[in-house]
Symmetry: C2
Subunit: 84 residues, 2 copies
């Protein structure tokens, strides 16, 4: 994915719950994303988007990622994975 484009997404869509500079979750129940495996981030975001995750937080995430294209998902995943 394109890290620069991913950064823009992180700084807009994701920043409400994940610190865009470090990927850290803003609350204990929100995961840290920095340095996470890129492929895992992609599959997780897609799982939320496709309704394959239905836990307590899944509804919020599904709304957040509904507008993301596959490219957006690849880019934002590359960005957070790059935050070691």
């Amino acid at each position: 994915g394109d890290i620069a484009k991913g950064k823009t997404i992180a700084e807009t869509v994701c920043m409400a719950c994940h610190n865009p500079a470090t990927g850290e979750g803003n609350m204990d129940i929100y995961p840290n994303l920095g340095g996470q495996k890129e492929a895992y981030l992609k599959s997780s975001i897609k799982a939320y988007k496709d309704g394959q995750r239905t836990g307590p937080m899944a509804g919020i995430m599904k709304g957040m990622v509904a507008s993301l294209s596959d490219d957006d998902i690849a880019n934002v995943s590359a960005y957070f994975a790059s935050l070691k």
Copy 2:
């Protein structure tokens, strides 16, 4: 959770896919768990156990965590969260 008890679980149940010393996923599709939020780890493991995650890897994870009690889940979550 009890970190010492969690370490034992990590070194038995989880080590096939997650390095018990660092929490790192052994493949690109397996998430890194070290330093993850404890509450997020607990809710994720429960989501797999309760069938609230049905993505490609969810079947494997559901099998892995099926035998874990709530205490086990709290302990292994505390252990991986403690790996900064």
